[in-house]
């Protein structure tokens, strides 16, 4: 843990709470975390990149005139909906692939899946806590969708309850419920961290 903490810039941990002056600064601040969030949920780098790019475009196109304090919940809300949309498309595509021959060629060999293997580099290759992040990511992926969203937005991204509720299109009470269940599940899954 110390190795991770040592690599962190103190400004980096605090920047999620600062309100940037320009939309460019805001997007520069969140783009990497947005990519990680989409990647963690979609498990596919290209889809994650598409989701982030689309969220950026939509924010700029439709909400550039909104006050800077509203950008964060708007952006994370757009990204969340984009991720859900891509996940739904995946399901439909998987069903169609299953109907059309079950993903096997004429020789009976399994065809490459529609989602190619991720060629990307390990995100924490230069850190000693690769396994810890992998454990966290695996545990977060096991959460139900709404609990995962609540945990990532509230705990990891640092939005307050009201902003998280706005990004998730639900009430603040629902956010607290989802988050409580998510934390309970994650504590059980990541018992070794204690």
């Amino acid at each position: 843990m110390n190795s991770v903490a040592g690599t962190l810039d103190t400004d980096l941990l605090g920047d999620a709470r600062e309100t940037p002056a320009t939309l460019d600064a805001f997007l520069a601040q969140v783009e990497r975390r947005a990519f990680r969030m989409a990647e963690l949920q979609l498990r596919h780098r290209e889809d994650a990149m598409d989701a982030v790019q689309d969220a950026m475009l939509r924010l700029v196109k439709h909400y550039r005139d909104k006050p800077a304090t509203e950008w964060a919940p708007l952006f994370w809300g757009i990204l969340r909906r984009r991720v859900v949309d891509l996940q739904r498309r995946r399901k439909v595509r998987s069903i169609v692939v299953g109907w059309l021959g079950g993903g096997r060629d004429d020789d009976g060999d399994e065809l490459p899946t529609w989602e190619p293997a991720d060629p990307g580099q390990d995100p924490l290759g230069r850190l000693h806590d690769v396994q810890s992040y992998a454990d966290l990511a695996a545990a977060v992926r096991q959460l139900p969708q709404r609990q995962r969203e609540a945990f990532m937005l509230r705990m990891l991204e640092g939005l307050d309850v009201a902003e998280t509720a706005r990004a998730m299109d639900c009430s603040e009470g629902s956010v607290k419920t989802h988050l409580s269940r998510a934390m309970h599940h994650l504590r059980d899954q990541l018992e070794d961290w204690r």
């Binding site: 962190l8 810039d9 950026m56």
Partner: protein, 125 residues
Amino acid sequence: MTSPDEHFEQRARELWHAAAQHIDPATAGRLRAARRQALETKAPARRAVRWLIPTGAFAAIALAAMMVWQPLPQHHATSAMHAASAADELDNELPPDADKADPNLYQNLDFYGWLASTSSHTAAR
């Protein structure tokens, strides 16, 4: 001294930010390019839409004002019509133009005078 829960949350957050920070250069470059591309997009028709509402409101007010004020010109028109008909009646009471009138009229002028006085008496009754 932090509680186990606080420790858990802090640890998760640290790993999360570290993972976000350590993105390979190619992906980071693509994210920057995506940001620039997004910022270059314009918001088409947004201003036009913004102007549509006040313009529509103004048009509605103007239409309402026209409807309110419309009876007055109608009144003027009807009074003008009344004036025209009254003038016609006056014209009828004037002696006919000598050049345009039938010469027989002058030859039987006494008869027509008697006829006019008789018909006016009958109408008065």
